[in-house]
Every structure is written in C-alpha cells, then in structure tokens.
C-alpha cells in the first residue's frame, strides 16, 4: 500500500514540479493543476480516518513530496482534512484547508499559516497541543526563507476540535519526512553534478576532496532517512513524541551539513536562481526551524532522559527498535 501510493504520487510530482512551476509558486501562484491532479486521485482525503490508508502511507507520500519540493502545503492540507473531518462538519472537498499556529495571546490571529491566502478553512494548533478550527477573514501575506507562503491570518468562528492526536508532533514529523526526501534529492543533484562537471580535464567526481564531501553527505542523508522512518514507525506508541524529537533533531543536523557541502560541490552554478538546487536547500533550511527547531525537540527529549536518570538512559535508548 505504502509503496503503491508513494509511486502514484511520484508520477504526479514528476510531471507537476518542474522548475517553472516552483518559480511561479514562489511568485505567489498556487499550483492549481498539481492540486487538481492530487485531488482527482484522492490524495486530499488520504489522511481521513476511513480512507483505507495508514498515517505511515501519508508520511511516505510527504517524503516523496519533499523529493520534488512540491510547492503546496500538502502535509497541512491532509492533516487539516483529517482533523476537520473528525468534526463531522461539512467535510473536506477539493478546496484547500491548511494548518497554522495559534498565537499565544490571541486566538483570532494565527501565524505561519502555509498558503493561508488560498485556504477555505484553517486548523490552528496551540503550543499546548490544543487544536481549533477557524474560517479566514483577513490575510497578511508572508513567506519563509524558501519563499513558501507562511501567512498571518485573522480567523473567525473559532471552535475547538476534538483531536486526540499529538498534533505538534505530527506536524514536526511531516517536516522531518519532507526533509528526508529533499535531502535525497540534494544528494542526487550533488552526485550528478560532480560526474558531469569537468575541471582539469576530468569530472570533479574524480577528485578525492569532492568524493569525501559527497560520502559525508550520503552518510548524513541515510541517517536522516532512517531517523524519519523510525518516528513514522512509532506512530501511536507512547514514545511517539520522543521518536519525533530524535528524528527532527537528527534530520535538522543533517540539513546544515548537507546543504553546505552540496552547494560547495555545485560551485557558482548552484548559487544562481536559475539552478534548481536552491529550491531544495532553502526549503531544508526553512523546514529545520519550522514545527520546532532541533534545540526545541532536543530539549524535550533531553528532559525526559534527565528525569529517568543516568542509569536508565541506556534502557530508554535500547528500547527503540
């Protein structure tokens, strides 16, 4: 199931995430055709409790979306539909719903709302994990450092949703899974460019300095992928938040090293807007800070281990399989 859905999604992304579409999205143009194709294939409903798909399938698709830098808020759309659907209200349609953060002191102004400007309904997640539904009335546009819309939205008709899930951890895991996918793509781009770019009469891949950078990158990318998979496998377990913490932390550390090294491999070409590399590296840099930075999640995991005490640390680590 997981592989089938991921493959189907990959076919759509491969067609609909060309450089021009990524560029246009950054200019504020919603990728309507991409969203339409995803909806025609039922992806917008896949996180609904009765969809037949598991949450693990959803994260597999999000990882593929990351590989293609799919320029729409897929994680938020799927999770919003999941959480709104449980409300039993008017139900999801092809209209875009999304998920933002409830401002600490004001439950009518939500921030960091991906594509809030294009959304019909918005789910707001509070710091303490509380989940609310709201309808947008006014939008102040803003973007993250990858140029992805992260709007401030004034909402009305706010009502709490009966969400029994750890929404902040699921959102953080979405970023980890997307990043794991984008990291794979960045590694591929680095290998491809090193084999194709010639200097001193041979591909730069023949130089040991370049080989060693890319070997380090491959190791980081593999670690990020494994960490993300492990957290997905822990969905529903009592350790879930801590597994997400480990994943978000490990993936975030990989991002800094990988983006730096693969830009170095690409030379000035990778520093141009014309090259596609930045669509992936800028997203990676943005995503590592969204839904809780490494430090946030490390501290959450660390407090748990400190509470257990030094002589229980190993037992905690060895219980993860």
């Amino acid at each position: 199931m997981e592989q089938m859905l991921a493959d189907a999604a990959e076919r759509i992304f491969r067609d609909q995430c060309a450089k021009e579409i990524l560029d246009a999205a950054e200019e504020g143009q919603f990728p309507a055709r991409l969203w339409q194709l995803l909806c025609e294939n039922g992806f917008q409903l896949m996180a609904m409790p009765d969809s037949g798909a598991e949450l693990a399938d959803v994260f597999a698709v999000l990882r593929v979306a990351g590989r293609f830098a799919a320029p729409l808020p897929l994680a938020e759309a799927l999770l919003a539909n999941r959480w709104l659907g449980e409300e039993g209200g008017d139900g999801p349609t092809d209209a875009l719903n999304t998920v933002g953060l409830v401002a600490e002191d004001d439950n009518t102004h939500w921030r960091d709302v991906p594509w809030g400007r294009a959304a019909r309904r918005i789910v707001g997640v509070a710091d303490d994990g509380g989940v609310f539904a709201g309808t947008p009335v006014a939008v102040t546009q803003a973007v993250n450092l990858a140029g992805e819309p992260r709007d401030q939205v004034e909402v009305q008709d706010v009502e709490p949703l009966p969400c029994a899930e750890p929404a902040p951890a699921l959102l953080a895991l979405a970023r980890a899974a997307q990043s794991a996918g984008a990291l794979e793509r960045v590694l591929e781009l680095g290998i491809g460019y090193a084999l194709e770019r010639e200097q001193f009469g041979r591909p730069i891949a023949r130089f040991q300095a370049v080989q060693h950078m890319l070997a380090m990158v491959a190791a980081e990318v593999a670690a990020a992928g494994r960490a993300s998979d492990a957290a997905v496998a822990a969905i529903g377990s009592e350790r879930f938040a801590f597994e997400v913490a480990a994943a978000k932390s490990r993936v975030g550390e990989a991002v800094g090293l990988v983006a730096e090294a693969v830009h170095q491999v690409h030379g000035a070409m990778g520093f141009t807007y014309e090259h596609q590399l930045h669509h992936f590296t800028r997203r990676l840099w943005a995503w590592r800070d969204e839904c809780g930075s490494e430090t946030y999640w490390q501290a959450l995991l660390g407090r748990r281990l400190c509470a257990l005490g030094a002589d229980q640390v190993w037992d905690f680590l060895a219980t993860s399989s």
């Binding site: 593999a222 281990l305 190993w314």
Partner: protein, 376 residues
C-alpha cells in the same frame, strides 16, 4: 541510493537482554571502571564467564561449540556489554572477526581446533594487518612467509597489534609470493601462535598511558601448512571481506557512551534548557545510529554483503564517538559532583584519536562510500 531497512528485533531477544543485564549486575565487581571502548578492558576471567553463558561465538555452528543464534541476538549481547562498559577486549577480536573468518575461509580442521576454545572464552586472537610501512595501503605488507618442508617460515614486523602481549594467536596477512603486476595477489593469511619460538612482542605505550597495542617481530617463525587460512595467495579477498562485514557493530558508535551516562548524572533531573538539549542531541544520534547498525545486522542475517552500508555506519558512528565528548563538555555544568564525569571524559578523550583510525581510517571509508555512490 543506500537503503537501511527497518528491522524488528525478534521475540526472545528482550529476555536475552535481561539475562545479560542480570549477568552484568552479578559481575559488577569486574566493571569497577566502566569504559565502553571495546579495546580498553582485557579481562580473561570475565571473558571465560561470558563463554560459560554461551555468549561468545553465539551465531556459530553447534558442531564447533556455537549456539547457532541469530545476528540480532549477538547484537543485543554486544550492545549490552558495551553500554555497561564491561571489559570485553580479550575475546572481542576472536568473536567478531577471527572466528567468522575461519568459518568462512578456514578448513574444517582449523574450525575444530580453534573455535571451541574461543567459544569457551579461553582462546584470544589478535589482528595482524598493519606494519611499520603499511597502514591504509594494506597490500604493501612486507612480512613474508617462505615455503619450507611442511610449512612456512615467517619474517617481518606487525605493528599496532592490540592485545598481542596477552592473546594466544594472531591471524597475520603476509606475502607468500612476490608482488608483481597485481599487488593483491600473493598475499596469504596465517594463524600464528604468539608463544612460538621467534616471536618477540614489545608493548607500545599510547598517549593515554595505556599499553594495549604492540610491535610484534617474527624471526624465522615456523607455521605449519595446516595453519594457512584458505588457499595460499587468497589473502586479499579474505581480508577485505573480513574488514567489510565487521565495520558496523555497536562498538563503532558506543565507545564514548559512558561519558554520556556520567554527563546525564552530572546534569541531574532538572536541567537548564541548553543542558537538556545537549542530552537530547546525543540521544537522537544514538537512537539513529543504533537503528542503522541493526539494519546492517539484518542484511547480514539475510545473507547479504552490505560493505558500503557498513562503511557508512562506521563513518557516522566514529565521527559521533568523537562528537559526544565535545557536546557533553560544552554543556557540562560547573557545579555538582564532577569527579566521575571528569575522569570518564578525560579517559575517553585521550582514546578518541584512535576511533577514526582503527578498522579502517575515515579517509579509507569515505573512499569505500564514494565508490558505492559511483564517484570512482
């Protein structure tokens, strides 16, 4: 793209884990200074007790004293021993490397003669690869074995031989035919009795003050034909597979683990945010490395040859072993009972240069990974 599939530890491994913990608690007197570095504590008595429990050579055939248990069960035993900082160095190489080499390439006679004593924790082996002029460029070994009646005469010097002054045997890579166009040809592996006439062993003090590794000089040492591992001349392919498969175990990322335990103890139950983040950061690395290492164990269990994946785990794991004391040091509070943390930290830091050298340097491993990526 390199794939590390999730593995689930089979049922029964948790019971085994608790057996090992009970054993460690009962033998706490032999772990007075816990150190997770696999080459630090040489304790023949401890190894013999492990042997009695059936925890050495546990994946090997019953015909040779083994228990025919899975790679996962061996994984659980080794990680528990290392995490507790138990002295495992005496039997480590024989269990991890020499035994599997004999099972894979040795004769039935060799297996029958050597494996049962290894399994009982009574027979210890050293690795004879490096030489004064030979480190990463292993094919350049100059120790020779010349044909004589009934066997071979060995001359030359091996270097950095961990435990040679305490162990019983070395499996040495030697040149049995001169190097020609193909420098990988003409190499052979011999089992050498370290008590044989003509063997001179001189311990070399390391920068931490310890004497774990040695220079071993062979002066006309006789080795019988029966102690040549595999066919003469086949040494290179044997030695590379030996290195390849054994690079990804928990000893490749747990060497500094006791520093972490003492760091958490020092930080206490109510940490500052940056202290908690340091604790969590290390945990995130450990959880991920452990899973990657288990993924490789799963590939071995399925009969695959994950050379590149193993090199990758070692590369990540060794770098992390060096990073761990740095993270802990930077975040360690200045108050509290410092003694245990400071001692463990200093001991590990002084050993840490070896982490990215032994078993293949970081540079050699990156070359292996780069080849796997199609870059060379």
């Amino acid at each position: 793209m390199l794939q590390f599939d999730p593995v689930q530890l089979p049922e029964g491994t948790e019971a085994l884990r608790h057996e090992v913990r009970d054993f460690l608690a009962a033998n706490a007197d032999r772990i007075s200074a816990p150190n997770s570095d696999f080459s630090s504590g040489h304790d023949a008595e401890f190894s013999a007790r492990l042997g009695e429990r059936g925890w050495i050579g546990m994946t090997w055939p019953k015909a040779y004293g083994g228990a025919e248990r899975s790679f996962f069960e061996r994984y659980v035993v080794t990680e528990e021993l290392l995490a507790a900082g138990a002295p495992v160095s005496a039997h480590w190489i024989a269990d991890r490397q020499s035994g599997p080499l004999l099972l894979g390439s040795g004769s039935e006679d060799q297996c029958a003669r050597y494996l049962p004593a290894i399994v009982r924790g009574r027979s210890f082996f050293s690795i004879g690869m490096s030489e004064p002029g030979t480190g990463s460029d292993l094919a350049s070994v100059r120790t020779t074995a010349k044909r004589v009646a009934g066997g071979w005469r060995v001359n030359g010097t091996k270097l950095w031989t961990t435990g040679a002054h305490l162990n019983h045997y070395m499996i040495a890579l030697v040149r049995t035919a001169p190097a020609k166009d193909n420098r990988h040809a003409g190499l052979s592996q011999l089992i050498i009795d370290l008590a044989a006439p003509g063997v001179a062993i001189r311990p070399i003090r390391n920068m931490a003050g310890g004497e774990d590794f040695n220079e071993v000089v062979f002066d006309d040492v006789f080795v019988t034909d029966a102690d040549v591992v595999g066919e003469p001349g086949n040494g290179w392919s044997q030695v590379t597979s030996e290195l390849g498969y054994e690079r990804s175990g928990p000893e490749r990322f747990l060497s500094a683990f006791r520093v972490y335990v003492e760091f958490v103890r020092l930080v206490g139950a109510d940490p500052e945010r940056f202290e908690a983040a340091a604790v969590g950061r290390i945990a995130a690395h450990l959880m991920t490395l452990r899973r990657m290492s288990m993924s490789v164990a799963g590939m071995l269990e399925n009969g695959k040859a994950p050379n590149v994946e193993a090199a990758l785990v070692k590369e990540l794991g060794n770098n992390f072993e060096k990073l761990l004391p740095e993270i802990a040091r930077a975040a360690a509070p200045s108050g509290g009972d410092q003694e245990r943390f400071r001692r463990t930290y200093a001991e590990t830091l002084l050993l840490s240069p070896s982490f990215t050298l032994r078993g293949g340097t970081r540079e050699i491993l990156r070359g292996v990974i780069a080849r796997g990526l199609g870059l060379r």
